[in-house]
């Protein structure tokens, strides 16, 4: 990069690719080459910038000129603009949705300014298919440091001290999990990365894998070193072909560089990994179902009491299972130290949280904020508020098994414990903003529909109970609600939560529980007055 006068970074995340950014990339390369201007100008692929609604997206470095909604037809003009004497293209600038003013630089866009992009920092900046890009930004230095200077116990201590909690939803302290896996007896151990990401609308894990696959791989290798594993799996849902390809390329490159395989970095530590493509069931993200699925069995969770996965996981061997983002944080923790990591976040939730911000909000996209940021900051400062002058009604966090929080709670800090206290969960990191035009009964019905379909069918409360809940909600939204329905929903929710085998069933009623708690009047209006206050349900 050093000799380059400038780099044109073309986003090649799933969002921009579906907008045609592959053609743009190719056209840029071809035209530069055929016009003989390619000296000093490089064209690079990058991962997702998180602002896909503005894609296809191009950033021209070093100044960070930011072009949005680029088309192939714009290519000649873009080339002209980067030649000596060229001027930036006004028509492709991002426009502030409120002031309509053009924002010329990436770093000046509120959507980005207010974030603290940490694991997403290099997504959109480096070429995910080039290991050198990753090493140039300090990649694999953490692995080198761990293997050369740290004992496995030292690595675990660092992870423990950082206070990092698993980012797959449950927020279990990662260091403790690593330690118990290290201490579990057995010579064969596994490291597994959970990249099932089954929540509809969530794409944080996908973006990390597409934009910075080496960070995940490096995290996994460090974990393997720490717990004493020699084999790893990345469980990616099959609907993520781009992520799979990028990971494949990255794994191959890491092998060639001696970062995977026998005697990593000439030490006596050996580790290799492979990708396992899941069948795309939401429940396969649950740890025991995921393990069974890799073993070639049907992905069904195991009932408690059962041994922990860290003691008996894959093929009954001790197994460390963490989420994509948990692993992506590890190199940063090792390089910068536990203290650096723990500076951000709240007392009990350290570091950052990544959300897929969607729904009725001006700026949809992937965002990263410190743990404990308020919903207000996320929705208004980063998200740019509610479009069309409407008012905020509720926020759903944690995906289909999360809860709906009312607008009044907009100042609660977003971290594992505050959300749980409010009746919701961090979950997968989905964050759906709802405006006044949203019917909360309909929302509950929508999520219950998802949950009942995704139930693995193994246990009766979840399999049959979610169906009953759905039918009742469906009836209510069709004007066929009956007086005792709310009590029935309440009873079903409690019983399903209490008696289901796994997290899916235990959290499936959450959308109903929270909407009943915070929006009870809407249910009453539907049932008693046969009226949908938001005017969404047809009530026939």
């Amino acid at each position: 990069m050093a000799n380059n006068r400038c780099s044109v970074l073309v986003c090649q995340g799933t969002g921009c690719v579906s907008g045609g950014s592959e053609h743009i990339y190719n056209a840029l390369k071809d035209e530069l080459e055929s016009s003989g201007h390619d000296e000093g100008i490089s064209v690079k692929r990058t991962g997702c910038h998180g602002f896909c609604q503005q894609g296809p997206m191009i950033v021209v470095e070093p100044r960070g000129v930011f072009y949005t909604k680029v088309k192939t037809d714009d290519v000649p003009d873009i080339i002209k603009s980067v030649l000596p004497g060229g001027k930036s293209l006004d028509r492709l600038f991002y426009r502030d949705p409120v002031s309509e003013k053009a924002v010329t630089h990436y770093h000046d866009i509120p959507f980005y300014i207010k974030q603290e992009r940490t694991i997403l920092k290099y997504c959109g900046y480096i070429d995910p298919e080039e290991i050198n890009d990753y090493t140039e930004i300090g990649g694999y230095a953490a692995l080198r440091k761990a293997i050369t200077w740290m004992t496995p116990e030292g690595v675990i201590t660092e992870v423990k001290n950082s206070g990092i909690r698993g980012l797959g939803g449950a927020g279990f302290p990662a260091g403790r999990k690593w330690e118990s896996c290290r201490n579990a007896p057995g010579d064969v151990k596994y490291v597994v990365c959970n990249a099932d990401e089954g929540d509809p609308g969530a794409f944080q894990d996908r973006s990390v894998m597409e934009g910075n696959p080496h960070s995940v791989i490096e995290g996994m290798i460090i974990a393997a070193y720490a717990i004493g594993a020699d084999k790893g799996f990345i469980y990616v849902r099959a609907e993520y072909p781009l992520a799979v390809n990028r990971l494949k390329t990255a794994i191959e490159q890491a092998r060639q560089e001696g970062l995977l395989g026998d005697n990593i970095l000439d030490s006596d530590f050996s580790f290799d990994m492979e990708i396992f493509q899941g069948a795309g069931a939401f429940v396969c993200g649950e740890s025991t179902a995921l393990v069974r699925s890799i073993e070639g069995k049907r992905g069904m969770p195991k009932a408690m009491p059962r041994p922990r996965t860290t003691e008996e996981g894959l093929w009954n061997k001790p197994t460390l299972l963490n989420n994509v983002k948990t692993f992506a944080n590890i190199p940063l923790i090792i390089t910068n130290g536990a203290g650096w990591f723990a500076r951000r976040g709240t007392e009990k939730s350290k570091g950052t949280a990544v959300f897929s911000l969607t729904g009725k909000v001006v700026n949809c996209g992937l965002i990263e904020v410190p743990m404990g940021a308020t919903l207000r900051k996320i929705i208004y400062d980063i998200g740019g508020g509610i479009p069309g002058g409407k008012s905020l009604k509720a926020v759903q966090t944690g995906g289909p098994s999360g809860g709906c929080l009312p607008a009044e709670m907009i100042d609660i800090p977003v971290d594992f414990d505050s959300l749980a206290e409010a009746g919701s969960i961090m979950g997968s990191g989905g964050l759906v903003v709802m405006d006044e035009g949203t019917c909360m009964v309909d929302v509950a019905r929508y999520f219950l529909d998802f949950n009942r379909r995704e139930s693995c069918g193994q246990c009766i409360p979840c399999r049959l109970g979610t169906r009953q809940m759905f039918e009742i909600l469906d009836d209510i939204t069709k004007g066929k609600g009956r007086p005792g329905d709310i009590d029935l929903l309440d009873r079903l929710s409690k019983s399903i939560k209490r008696s289901s085998i796994c997290g899916l069933g235990k959290t499936a009623p959450n959308p109903v529980i929270t909407t009943l708690r915070y929006f009870r009047d809407e249910y009453d209006a539907h049932i008693r007055d046969m009226r949908c206050p938001a005017g969404v349900c047809s009530m026939k």
């Binding site: 379909r453 995704e454 139930s455 246990c459 409360p461 049959l464 009953q468």
Partner: protein, 673 residues
């Protein structure tokens, strides 16, 4: 000694073996913890949530089917909290259940019905829906009606554990189902129609096809007995109504599918009333078989036997009971005074191997060594052994298969050693002695030239490391296998017919001419007992056939005597594991048929030396052999190489051809081509 733990369940203090789960422990205290997905013997999976109980000190209820007892545990099985969950679960099940108890065949035995009754749930308090799946009634054995299915998974677990792998879960949420691969009918899915899944199903989703309106559980009389159709001698439970057999199940404890029976044992009983069933004695008059009465038939038979004397010969199958065998031996030796008596046993075993076979319980084995055996549920060669071995292997026992040919069971093996069995056994013996296991000097020197390959070394490692290895051997290789057992473990000789071991113990074994010799030499009188595997009349002057069914051979006989089937006469047998088992008379014999020994005694009376009834003590004494395991050289017994499948099929030809099993035979043939 079993370690015991003390705990309190619903205020009752009890003592049970460590490692037991709470459902079983509670049962010992007479407390029933509701359950629908638990199968005694298998690990609980927690699907139905009915067995949730509260344990003092634990915040959340736990499932009793997968929670082990602990010393000092205080368990409450009926707190409001868990009762509420139970009621909720039953209520939910009923929301998608046909609620057909008034006409349902499973009524009375069904725990779902019981729990609905206990919770006073007349119907579901939720909205009801029917699945509306089609029933699979495309075979004459098992009817699958998924509308009743509660998805407890018991059928699939049993089928998979025994290695047949026909049933699996498909779909998600309410659309989950238990189906066959690609949803094909059972007969196209590798199903052997063993019916284990029927025994496992707690509701009416899996049912014997012929049971509609043939009576319900409370109408039945349940009688425990033993199947005598093949060398496994499985425990069975026969249900009768109005003196007719309505169904046969595996003879396991209620709520358990720990025992296996095959399609022969479960569904072969219709042959009792087959058209070919013999109900009156027959004699040849002017070249044609004509009905006659017992007096006439036995008079002819005794006269002929008297004339033939020591030139008379008796051949029998080894699937007759001990009492029949002893009586037959006495008839031959003491009344007719001939040494020519023998059974089909001599076609596949020398009787010494069976007399020296040890007693064991497969459930205690942590290593199984199969020598020269090719059990197969699919070919129905010792299918119960195949199932039991696979189940043990699935639960962690090591399996070593030693065979000179391909076997299907080796797919479940930890180590499969292919090649000449004797050489392999020699090298295993050598490897074991080299591990320092003390051995007879002759043994050591007889294997000193054996080579040890890596797999053999591994096998020897496993054997020497095992707590209680169990060797199942084909009779021809018994001596060599027994040499291994001298070093470690126990050895069982596995005969092909149910009472092979009993026959050997009763001494109905070669003294004069062998079975083969009697067929091939011209006997004055040849008396065939049971369904001997023969279709062409041997070159005997006078042929008597005593069997329950008309066979090809019987059609060529001079006198045909109708005998009772094993379900129609009482007696004992000794199974391959060395257990003496009692068979009660389950139903009355058809027509005028009589038990073998009644016929023999009748003849003895007419011949002037009436035989006394064989007593229990007599059988017991004969069965008690003191054998001292000793070294004998590593050789294979020659001349014992009948095809197991052919032999088993031919001694059961009438059962197969006279029942629904004929459909199975033809369907399997059609699918094979």
């Amino acid at each position: 000694m079993e370690e015991l733990v003390e705990l309190t369940i619903d205020g009752k203090e009890i003592e049970v073996p460590a490692g037991m789960n709470l459902i079983d422990a509670a049962e010992r205290a007479g407390i029933h913890i509701p359950n629908l997905c638990y199968l005694k013997g298998m690990k609980g999976i927690g699907a139905c949530r009915l067995c949730l109980v509260e344990i003092q000190g634990l915040k959340a209820p736990v499932i009793a089917c997968n929670t082990k007892v602990k010393d000092g545990m205080i368990v409450n099985t009926k707190t409001d909290k868990v009762q509420e969950v139970r009621k909720f679960v039953i209520d939910l099940i009923l929301s998608m259940h046909p609620l057909d108890c008034m006409t349902c065949t499973k009524a009375g035995k069904c725990n779902l019905q019981k729990y609905a009754y206990d919770f006073e749930l007349k119907e579901s308090s939720f909205t009801r829906k029917k699945f509306g799946y089609p029933t699979d009634a495309a075979n004459p054995f098992i009817m699958r009606d998924p509308d009743y299915c509660i998805l407890c998974g018991r059928c699939a677990r049993v089928c998979n554990e025994q290695g047949t792998n026909v049933l699996e879960f498909m779909g998600r949420g309410v659309d989950s189902r238990v189906i066959t691969a690609n949803d094909k009918p059972l007969q196209e899915s590798g199903c052997t129609f063993c019916g284990s899944c029927v025994d496992a199903c707690p509701v009416n989703a899996l049912l014997e096809s012929d049971r509609l309106r043939k009576g319900r559980e409370w109408d039945y009389k349940e009688i425990n007995s033993v199947c005598l159709l093949c060398g496994n001698g499985c425990d069975i439970t026969v249900s009768t109504k109005d003196g007719v057999i309505r169904k046969i199940n595996a003879g396991a404890e209620a709520g358990s599918a720990e025992k296996y029976i095959c399609a022969y044992g479960r569904f072969g009983f219709d042959c009792i009333e087959a058209e070919t069933r013999l109900t009156v004695p027959m004699k040849r008059v002017n070249g044609e078989l004509k009905d006659t009465d017992w007096q006439d038939a036995l008079a002819i038979v005794s006269e002929k036997l008297k004339q033939a004397g020591k030139e008379a010969g008796f051949i029998s199958v080894a699937g007759i009971g001990n009492e029949d065998a002893l009586t037959l031996k006495k008839l031959a030796r003491d009344v007719v005074r001939t040494k020519n008596f023998d059974t089909t046993l001599s076609l596949y075993a020398d009787s010494e191997s069976l007399r020296n076979s040890q007693a064991a319980n497969i459930d205690n084995a942590d290593l199984i060594l199969l020598v020269g055996l090719d059990p197969s549920q699919w070919k129905r060669v010792l299918p119960a052994l195949d199932a039991a071995v696979r189940r043990r292997a699935g639960r962690g026992a090591k399996l070593i298969v030693v065979n000179s040919s391909e076997t299907k069971i080796e797919e479940a093996a930890t180590i499969s050693l292919k090649g000449d069995e004797i050489s392999i056994l020699e090298s295993i013996a050598k490897a074991l002695t080299e591990k320092g296991i003390k051995a007879d000097r002759r043994l050591v020197s007889s294997v000193k030239n054996a080579g040890i390959t890596e797999p053999v070394e591994k096998a020897a490692d496993l054997i020497s490391g095992a707590r209680s290895p169990l060797i199942f051997s084909s009779p021809a290789l018994f001596n060599a296998s027994a040499n291994i057992a001298l070093l470690k473990g126990k050895v069982i000789s596995v005969g092909l017919e149910s009472n092979a071991r009993g026959i050997a113990l009763m001494g109905l074994t070669t003294e004069g001419k062998t079975y083969r010799e009697m067929i091939n030499s011209r006997m004055k009188v040849l008396y065939a007992v049971g369904e001997v595997p023969m279709v062409k009349r041997p070159d005997a002057d006078f042929l008597i056939v005593q069997n329950s069914h008309m066979t090809e051979l019987a059609k060529q006989a001079d006198v045909v005597l109708p005998s009772a089937t094993f379900l129609e006469s009482a007696g004992t047998m000794v199974d391959y594991m060395g257990r003496m088992k009692y068979l009660p008379k389950v139903i009355e014999p058809q027509g005028e048929s009589k038990s073998h020994r009644e016929i023999f005694t009748g003849i003895s009376k007419l011949m002037g030396t009436p035989l006394k009834k064989v007593t229990e003590a007599e059988v017991g004494k004969a069965a008690k052999v003191k054998t001292k395991p000793a070294f004998s050289s590593f050789v294979k017994q020659e001349g014992l190489d009948v095809s197991p499948q052919e032999l088993i099929e031919s001694v059961n030809a009438s059962v197969i051809n006279g029942s629904r099993l004929l459909w199975l035979k033809e369907t399997e043939k059609a699918i094979a081509v």
